[in-house]
Amino acid sequence: METIVEKSLEDIFEEKIASEIRIEPKDWMPEKYRKTLVRQISQHAHSEIVGMLPEGNWITRAPSLKRKAILLAKVQDEAGHGLYLYSAAETLGTSRDQMFEDLLSGKAKYSSIFNYPTLSWADVGAIGWLVDGAAIMNQVPLCRTSYGPYARAMVRVCKEESFHQRQGFEIMMTLCNGSEEQKEMAQEAFNRWWWPTLMMFGPKDEESPNTEQSMRWKIKRFTNDELRQRFVDMMVPQAEFLGLTVPDKDLKWNEAKGGYDFGAIDWNEFWNVVKGNGPCNKDRLKARNKAQEEGAWVREAAMAYAEKAATREKKSA
């Protein structure tokens, strides 16, 4: 006979993680796991929402009706992604209002990439191709993340993402096969977006304090540097195909590691943008705050109407 040992909640939790069993909202979980998740999921949600702004800029200026429809549907998808993710975070007991408040006050972070401006139509192509490409690379492993609602939201997100990168690539390809002016437009946009995109994977592993714990809890599946390397290896041949020059003089194939060596990332720039000093940090927060403030009366009115209608129904019942 085995002696029955009372297992601690923590042991049960760790066992589930070890055997790849998803954690669900009502399951016991360590407070720190919960906090890490709320932070990561809400940051992710904020990135989707703020990310609508730089591309949204171009919906009214898209150069053809087809591009306009695609871009509109794409930016709308990002709103959906934000929404799925906020919902996933809400299952952990934090309200969307609370998360919004943290975003709007500047307390919460979102992906720094969206603090760069979109200056030409080629930026829309570059964002779809590079930024969504990097996002997908980050997101695919998250479909297996240990928290159930997050993993399920990510499955939905990844399914929808698959056309985002392609439409971006298609824009770039059209420009690269177009006039001299269009080719220049594409190269110029590529030059501006390449490095900030590499920063999207986050700081170097040595400087990423949360990575180790997140890997152990299987919230994260790969380190920042692993994903960054994969991304470079994937994108360089695509850039070559387009006839674009990667703006990195140190880029070269390393036979031994079977991947590219690439130049040093300007981490000063990264941290500076994270701190709020990017070219568009202020504009982005202003736009989100404005939408939230100007929508307040609408949200209140709908609630007031719903309450009135409910009382009327009760009375007539």
């Binding site: 053809s64 549907a73 929404l83 002016e181 929508g295 009366w297 609408v298 209140e300 109407y305």
Partner: protein, 277 residues
């Protein structure tokens, strides 16, 4: 390769109308062309206005709702422009028609080019239009012009959703808080004057009505009056008195707003003429 389920429906639905062109005399063909263009302009400009909300709505869920309506209208506009281009027979594309005509050539009614204002203004503009659009498409489905009938049939499904969305919101905001009621009253003051033009037939429209190609507006106006009165009553909003109605858009005499819309819309095509995007 690309899995169809991952494509947005709006992108998949390209070039779906393959009915061959009907035999028309050159005069009638010109009339149908002009009118199709007018419908296309109307849907495009309203779609454009709604798209301006993308990323700035009062709550995420409504951001998505407005984008959906915008995409529906854009899809409708494209179907119409494609048809117009075929009728014209000069080798123009939908984009040539949308991107290379100036404001005076645009024939949309004034209502749809009015600025978004606050969410209440947008809801009311949409409500005035959706109600018209819905009852109009119901009739246009029976057009003797097969293509217009097919486009109407497809768009009617979307318009049925639009009228539901905007009617519900008029009621909610009218009967919501004191503030929301005030805002809706202000929106009515501002926008009612543009409702009449929807039912005002230009010589082109009159000619097509006589040919039974497009519906008469009398019964549509009656349905519109009825629905609008019902919704406003439920919204506890007063039905406006008869008043001066602005018009001119259908003749190309627009408000100053349209020029700005077109300078955004057409900027790339104008700056880099003749290129592929």
């Amino acid at each position: 390769m690309m899995d169809h389920h991952t494509q947005p429906a709006h992108v998949l639905h390209e070039l779906q109308f393959k009915t061959p062109l009907q035999e028309y005399s050159p005069e009638v063909r010109q009339l149908v062309f002009d009118y199709t263009l007018q419908l296309a302009d109307t849907s495009l400009i309203l779609s454009h206005r709604l798209a301006e909300w993308c990323g700035h709505g009062p709550i995420l869920e409504q951001d998505m709702a407005m984008t959906n309506i915008s995409l529906d209208l854009l899809g409708e506009a494209r179907n119409l422009y494609q048809y117009a281009a075929e009728l014209e027979g000069k080798g123009h594309t939908e984009d040539d028609l949308a991107y290379l005509r100036d404001a005076v050539a645009y024939k949309n009614p004034l209502l749809v080019e009015q600025p978004n204002g606050n969410f209440g203004d947008t809801v009311l503009r949409q409500f005035i239009f959706d109600t018209f659009h819905y009852f109009f498409l119901k009739e246009l489905q029976n057009s003797t012009d097969h293509r217009l009938a097919a486009i109407a049939e497809k768009s009617l499904k979307e318009a049925s959703y639009h009228i539901k969305w905007s009617s519900e919101w008029v009621i909610r905001l009218g009967d919501g808080t004191e503030e929301s009621k005030k805002r809706m009253e202000a929106a009515i003051d501002e926008l009612w004057t543009y409702s009449g033009e929807l039912f005002e037939a230009t010589p082109t429209e009159k000619a097509l009505q006589e040919l039974d190609i497009i519906p008469d507006y009398t019964s549509i106006k009656a349905e519109w009056d009825k629905h609008v009165a019902q919704v406003l009553q439920e919204a506890t909003l007063a039905l406006p008195q008869d008043q001066w109605m602005q018009s001119g858009g259908k003749y190309g005499r627009h408000s100053e707003h349209l020029g700005y819309i077109l300078s955004d819309l057409q900027y790339l095509q104008r700056t880099y003429p003749g290129q592929k995007w």
